[in-house]
């Protein structure tokens, strides 16, 4: 607009003044946009050209994903992703079953089963499939992942379709050689894509604040113009005859119409002062951010993950500085904090703890307490396999026979090997066998048994066959077949699982594993020692972040068993309340148990997670875990990651209470919701009260644990405020069993309710909504599954890289951009104010002080580069110090560097400096200036003033720098030099073009006088004097934290060499260890025992919420699978 104004005659400047910088700015931002689009385009191409097999005639032909059309029949092989939403027709598995992993969609780790309609089972092979003709009627594309309604019409037969036959894009195929499916929805119509809302374009908070600053500047501009306009209306007068204000003068100077004069002058002044609005600011910021992303974040070796060959990736360059102000992190669990890898880690057998491994959390604790852990070097023979990370010479390789009570070891191992629902697959040798378990925990336990010498290799519908070593004597191997009589399955109320089995010698044993509290209730009264010791171990394991299970057995007499079995069979065949009756029956036999010991499984955390979380929380960042997992698992992980420890008070709001369960059993939805609502409201109130009390009276740290069902009600507008208040008081929050939508809701609750900056990190499709809802979304890259990454703003390979991303890159970006913005503000204000002061001396006519070209090149050449260099290279403390003193990050959270006070200080000095520039140069120029007695004109003075401005403004930048590289020197001296070169040429030549030769020769005239040199020395120094004094006093009396840190480490040379670089460890310095120790408070006795167990195939929580799709029971899964495997074995 200003450019247009400048082409009108009322403008004081020629159009070129405004058009040149504007077009430069536009050009640069165009190039940048084009570049980013190009990259996005290439990414899309990569995904769209993934190949897939499509049925063409009677053959499979490979085409790329993008060519898929609705109605195509395609084949998906094991471990591949489904390219579209498919109707499941047939699978290589018998009875039309396939297993899919939905971790990408909902984060659940157990495999799901899909079953094709019987009618279509045959279409596995192309010859058959090509015969398939049918019609699918289905719902419109929608975003509900757990519902599907439709019909398949084959040969005039209408078959209803359920979610059970639908394979969603984003899932992958497991344990199935290949499946055949028909494409229902493709591309944007797939349910996953419908779920990912159109990516909201995110702008950083800083930029939004910047907008406010710009508005303020506009206000200032208007105010200045108003003053000028009023002045001009008052000033204009015919008495100044030399202005030629005759009768027919143009409106702008017509003294007989002062009002019009004012209005027109207003416009004149707007164009004149338009330099106050830093148009090149936005483009500079974009350039800086772009380079920060492309060169610094993407190429940071500290964030390069060698194992997956994944560097960090900044997918948008808008949010760099937002990373420096994050206060809340919402993290997904599986795949983000944990590796989704369960490892048998420790055990306690007969009251003795075995296992030499040390968990990350133990390591951290030890470091905090300052004691050294004598990490035992693992023996060379150590076996390592997925799911097994255990070594103890006392029991490995049959050594357990030499322990005090070898019998109990046998029970322990047999319990592990027998009491489960795992299916062996593949070759029946210990090396090649693959255990298919619905939960990785179970697989880990069975694998452990294998390594202990009790190799489970075959399951038939009634027996489990083990290959036992060292039982009779060392080195002896024998195959034993145990008959499994009953299986009392796991569910979340029972929290235990038992099998009754018959030894070949007729011994009847019940093996039971389950949560410690459940098992302890059912133990026989004997052997208190073992109980006590085991409990101690459980607590130890629990506080080390391990998932524990108690193992127990009971010998049964034939009579007892027969009696009980009758009741069991009855219960099993009853039609009403079967579940409840089965539970009751189970209760009757699961008693008088004898404790064997306990297992401890490590839910393997991603590398460096506890340390990273600890560092981040010291940086003032609060971390919330939002997971679809069960409460126990979630709490366990929270322990393992140091989010919750035993010093904290846990506030738990759960729907797993008796009242709610009772209501649910009645099954009246209205009643259920009322009961839950009441209980949530009550719990919230109670917790809030406790929180207030504990926090303010005892200063205790709080942790809130809430589950999805309660969250659904707590997010209700009436409770939302309470929830927010409560959760903001807690140092960590764990939300379990939450749906993707709830994740997003919680995120926006904090984002909007608390107005804090939030970051979400996740790896799966279930995190997409959360990633998009937060200010900053971070995706975990490098694993399969791209949805989270595609929705994210930044992608990193490991959770621990957050430390670098936030504390180093985020913090630097924030500080740099704050400096860039405030500096831009300052330099434009200073420049414009000199112009403003001049207006007072020109009869408010709007005469420009500077030449057009000075003005237009001021922002784009003479002061452009150094500030970009500042935005790229300024470094207050080095990367390692930033991580060593995470507290420095708090300055970003508090927005210390871009408060109005900071802007005010800059504005004040801009004001001061502009006065110096204007008055010093003009006052000093009144008389003749060299012995020739000749006098300067307007343009000489303005060239002088401009020279001073350029030099001062560039030097001021140097004062704002914390580290000065040769680029700084280069750009600053370059800018000043550019000005001189420019003025030498510009004022040295005459052009034939129509140009006012105002500044012709001015610089040479100036340089022939001492005045020039004296002023050039005086003015910049006086102008910077104020800033210097302020900075000195500020550091002296009110130092920022970073300044202290700089001083502490002032003598250290920041020489991270390449070698050092590669082994950046998490080693603590003695200083840090001490500060840990200071933070250490007297600890309560540990109470957490760490039970957590993924029940095999617990109902998909969301599905049951939707009330449509009830998946099969886990046991059915195992049973069918076992049938299958037995079939296969028999075939052999």
């Amino acid at each position: 607009m200003i450019s247009i104004l400048s082409t009108t005659p009322i403008s004081p400047v020629s159009p070129v003044t405004n058009v040149v910088p504007l077009s430069l700015v536009l050009l640069v931002s165009l190039i940048k946009e084009a570049f980013e689009d190009w990259k996005r385009f290439q990414n899309d191409i990569a995904i769209n050209s993934t190949p897939v097999d499509v049925l063409q005639g009677e053959n499979w032909e490979t085409v790329s994903w993008r060519k898929l059309q609705v109605g195509d029949i395609i084949r998906v092989k094991q471990d591949e992703f489904f390219p579209a939403d498919l109707l499941f027709l047939a699978s290589t598995n018998p009875d039309g079953v396939c297993y899919i992993e939905t971790a990408n969609l909902d984060g659940e780790t157990n495999l799901k089963i899909r079953k094709a309609l019987e009618r279509t089972w045959d279409y596995v092979f192309p010859e058959k499939a090509s015969e398939f003709k049918g019609e699918i009627q289905c719902e419109q594309p929608n975003n509900s992942l757990y519902t599907f309604t439709g019909n398949l019409i084959v040969e005039n037969q209408t078959l209803p379709l359920s979610p059970n036959q639908i394979l969603l894009r984003g899932c992958s195929l497991r344990n199935t050689v290949h499946i055949v499916g028909a494409v229902i929805f493709t591309g944007h119509e797939t349910k996953v894509m419908m779920n990912s809302m159109s990516v909201p374009s995110k702008r950083s908070t800083l930029e939004r604040k910047l907008d406010k600053l710009i508005l303020t500047l506009f206000g200032g501009l208007f105010f200045m113009c108003l003053i000028g306009a009023i002045g001009s209306g008052v000033f204009i007068n015919r008495k100044y005859y030399y202005l030629g204000l005759f009768e027919d003068v143009e409106q702008q100077f017509n003294p007989s119409n002062r009002f019009v004069v004012s209005i027109l002058t207003m416009f004149t002044l707007i164009t004149l002062y338009s330099t106050i609005i830093p148009i090149s600011l936005y483009v500079s910021i974009e350039m800086i951010k772009f380079i920060q992303c492309a060169q610094f974040i993407n190429k940071d070796l500290r964030m390069y993950h060698a194992e997956t060959n994944t560097p960090a990736l900044a997918r948008t360059s808008n949010l760099n500085e937002e990373l420096g102000q994050v206060e809340y992190i919402f993290s997904d669990k599986t795949g983000t904090l944990t590796r989704n890898l369960m490892e048998f880690f420790k055990c306690s057998i007969g009251g003795v703890s075995y296992g030499v491994g040390i968990t990350e959390i133990e390591r951290g604790q030890a470091q905090r307490e300052g004691r050294a852990l004598n990490e035992i070097q693992k023996s060379d023979t150590v076996v390592y396999e997925k799911g097994f990370n255990f070594d103890d010479d006392r029991i490995m390789r049959g050594a357990w026979r030499n322990e005090r009570d070898p019998e109990i070891f046998k029970e322990f191992f047999r319990c592990l090997a027998l009491c489960h629902t795992v299916l062996p697959e593949g070759d029946e040798s210990p090396e090649k066998i693959v255990y298919q378990a619905a939960s990785p925990d179970e697989a880990a336990l069975v694998t452990a048994a294998k390594h202990f010498g009790f190799f489970f290799y075959r399951r038939t519908p009634t027996t489990v066959q083990l290959r036992e070593s060292h039982v009779e004597k060392m080195g002896n191997i024998q195959d034993v077949s145990y008959e499994i009589l009953n299986v009392l399955e796991f569910n979340s109320t029972r929290k235990r699982q038992s099998v009754v089995c018959r030894y070949p010698n007729g011994r009847l044993v019940l093996y039971c594993k389950g949560a410690d509290n459940v098992i302890y209730e059912r133990l026989a009264g004997t052997n208190q020692d073992i109980k006590r010791l085991t409990r101690e171990h459980l607590e130890q394991f629990g506080s080390s972040g391990l998932r524990t299970l108690c193992l127990a057995y009971r010998d049964l007499t034939i009579d007892t068993y027969e009696n009980w079995n009758e009741k069991f069979v009855q219960a099993k065949s009853s039609l009403r309340d079967r579940e409840k009756k089965l539970d009751e029956v189970a209760e009757m036999i699961e008693k008088d148990l004898i404790l064997i010991g306990s297992t401890a499984i490590e839910d393997k955390l991603q590398e460096g997670v506890p340390d990273c979380i600890d560092t981040l929380s010291r940086a003032g960042i609060k971390i919330w875990v939002l997971t679809g997992d069960k409460m126990e698992t979630a709490i366990n992980i929270a322990y393992a990651c140091n989010l919750i420890n035993n010093d904290m008070k846990q506030l738990i709001i759960t729907s797993e209470t008796d009242a709610i369960r009772e209501a649910e059993e009645k099954g009246d939805p209205v009643e259920i919701s009322r009961v839950i609502r009441d209980s949530v409201s009550h719990d919230l109130k109670r917790c809030l009260e406790e929180a207030q009390q504990d926090l303010h009276i005892f200063g205790q740290k709080l942790a809130l644990v809430i589950d999805g069902k309660c969250l659904m009600y707590a997010l209700d507008p009436s409770f939302r405020v309470d929830l927010l208040k409560l959760s903001l008081n807690c140092s960590s929050v764990v939300c379990c069993r939450v749906s993707p939508l709830q994740k997003a809701q919680v995120t926006s609750l904090v984002k909007k309710g608390a107005r804090r900056i939030t970051l979400s990190i996740g790896d799966g499709a279930n995190d997409v909504s959360m990633i998009q809802a937060a200010h900053v979304g971070v995706g975990i890259s490098g694993l399969e599954g791209m949805q989270a990454v595609m929705a994210s703003d930044f992608a990193i390979a490991q959770f621990r890289f957050l430390k670098d991303l936030l504390l180093v890159h985020g913090r630097w970006s924030y500080i740099r951009l704050c400096k860039v913005i405030t500096y831009f503000f300052y330099k434009n204000l200073t420049f414009t104010l000199t112009q403003f002061w001049f207006t007072f001396h020109t009869g408010f006519s709007g005469q420009r002080f500077y030449d057009d070209w000075f003005q237009s090149l001021y922002n784009v050449i003479f002061t452009a580069l150094p500030v970009i260099i500042l935005g790229l290279f300024d470094k207050d403390v080095s990367a390692s110090l930033a991580k060593k003193y995470p507290q420095l990050y708090k300055e970003g959270i508090r927005n210390t560097y871009f408060k109005w006070a900071v802007v005010g200080v800059w504005a004040f000095f801009a004001f001061y400096q502009s006065l110096i520039f204007y008055y010093f140069t003009t006052t000093a120029s009144e008389n003749g200036h060299n012995s020739s007695g000749k006098i300067f004109g307007l343009w000489d003075v303005s060239t002088m003033a401009f020279t001073c401005v350029v030099i001062t403004v560039n030097l001021r930048l140097l004062m704002a720098c914390n580290s000065i590289t040769r680029w700084h020197h280069l750009s600053i001296s370059g800018s000043i030099l550019a000005w001189f070169v420019f003025i030498f040429i510009y004022s040295g030549v005459m052009t034939p073009n129509d140009r006012q030769e105002n500044v012709y020769f001015t610089i040479y005239v100036l340089m022939s006088t001492f005045y020039f040199y004296l002023t050039l020395l005086l003015v910049p120094i006086v102008a910077l004097f104020g800033d210097f004094l302020y900075l000195g006093l500020q550091r002296w009396f009110f130092p920022y934290n970073y300044q202290i840190v700089q001083e502490i480490h002032r003598d250290e040379v920041d020489s991270i060499s390449r070698t050092e670089f590669l082994e950046i460890g998490n080693h603590l310095t003695p200083d840090e260890a001490r500060s840990y120790a200071i933070a250490q408070l007297p600890r309560e006795k540990s109470k957490h025992t760490g039970f957590a167990f993924d029940s095999p195939g617990y109902e998909s929580f969301f599905a049951s919420q939707a009330g449509v799709y009830v998946p099969q029971k886990a046991w059915d899964v195992a049973r069918r699978a076992s049938v299958r495997s037995s079939k296969r074995t028999s075939q052999r």
Partner: protein, 349 residues
Amino acid sequence: MSPQADPAPEGDAGVVERRKKSKKPKYSRFTQQELPACKPLLTPTIVISTFSLIGILFIPIGLTSLSASDIVVEIVYRYDTECIPQQSQNDKLAFIQSSETNKICSTTLTVPKNMKAPVYIYYELDNFYQNHRRYVKSRNDKQLRSKAYEQETTNCAPEATTANGSPIVPCGLIAWSLFNDTYSFAIQNKVIEVNKKNIAWQSDKNNKFGSDVYPKNFQQGGLIGGAKLNESIPLSEQEDLIVWMRTAALPQFRKLYGRIETDLAANEQISVTIENNYNTYSFEGEKKLVLSTTSWIGGKNDFLGVAYLAVGSLCLFLALAFIVLYLLKPRTLGDPSYLSWNKNPDGHQ
């Protein structure tokens, strides 16, 4: 550890393809942000020494400038009121605008100190907005420069053309309002030569005002703004015009009128004859006659010297103050107890 934990998705051919080449970023000091840098810390020592340094540097410069300015002898005489006869004091405007009145006035100035030649003669105007936007742009540099552009009168309105449309050379308000008071000096009735050559900057004379451009139609209109020009002298020789056309920055300005090339002794009486033609009365502007010698620093100008002295002494004072402060309440560098989280474990909001 984790490779076996996450089996590579073989199906994702693109990924496999890309995995073959390492995506490990190359090390460079630039991308790792480890460029060698000096890290200036504004420590008390640096603050104190900077202030002292500025003080030590500036005070001598200030003193030198002041002494240079002190050598300059300056006589300022305001004549706009005094050159109006008593009877016209109430209506100065009528007096100055009338072509009948006798505008010659005389006065005597006393030389306060020896004034070594050359003595520069300036006129000083006040409340004259030579920097008014309408005024500044009311000229045409092309026309001034070359005869070829004689017709070029853009921007010159309302003094662009005569009533019949032929261009005015030089056109525009600046030229039109050329100052036309004249001064002549005599000591004891002996006329002192006033050298009016070489009073404009050489660059203006040589390049901005053409030697082939002669005044034309100048001051022919109804209203006479100021001086007339001799139409037989090219613009490049009309130095009064050239001086006048280098517009001043501020509404109060001096312009060089000429030089006296004889020494003036102290207490000599100079009789000045002023032809008071120029109208500053309509806008209540002052008119002054200034006689001044120069030194290397130029004319009488205490400002720079005083500024240097003031800043220099302020810096010295501050340096002292900081030293005292430093002794009384030392600020240890890098004391961890200054860290906010050490001061107040909860952090301050």
